[in-house]
Symmetry: C2
Subunit: 109 residues, 2 copies
């Protein structure tokens, strides 16, 4: 136990959950917001901006990279991170399918 039973869900359900998990931490939300505003950044800037240890920020960047939401280009001693547009758009689409409905209440709840 303690392990999600991924095999009983559809690929799409697992995919949505995976992307949501990446966004499910305020530090990673903060990183995404920073990248949306400034287009690119290096790890050190985020350490100053957010106020977590360098190891911790590096770990959060790794999770964002794990679903390819961001990508990093090595530039000398530092790494320039930016949003991966294709994956960003994919998440947009997936989330919109689940959360973008125009619901009407016809039930008695």
């Amino acid at each position: 136990m303690g392990l999600t039973k991924t095999e009983i869900y559809t690929d799409r359900q697992n995919e949505i959950a995976s992307f949501a998990k990446v966004i499910a931490h305020p530090a990673r939300v903060a990183i995404l917001q920073y990248l949306l505003k400034h287009e690119q950044c290096i790890c050190g800037t985020l350490v100053e901006e957010i106020g977590l240890a360098q190891a911790t920020i590096s770990q959060h960047l790794k999770e964002l990279k794990s679903v390819n939401l961001i990508k990093g280009n090595i530039e000398g001693t530092s790494v320039c991170y930016c949003i991966n547009l294709n994956v960003y758009k994919k998440i947009q689409k997936l989330f919109n399918e689940l959360l973008g409905r125009d619901i009407k209440l016809n039930n008695n709840c």
Copy 2:
């Protein structure tokens, strides 16, 4: 440690992360999809549909209720669950701010 430092983030960042966390499990995605399709349901139906133990489904429903994304009305021996439209719309808005941007790539990444 092992505890998120919520105090260093904005309320909005924490809010987005909290809502994302609720969606960050395929069982809860499946529950939401079921509710979007059928408008309402009882716990027992989800147990059959999804294939997890009753206690587990009840726990997932509790998490969806914890952010008021769903609400439950007691109807005899069972509980009728449905989506809370106001909160659904709020999540729509919050996620759209973060993920609904029309980004253009002007950087060299």
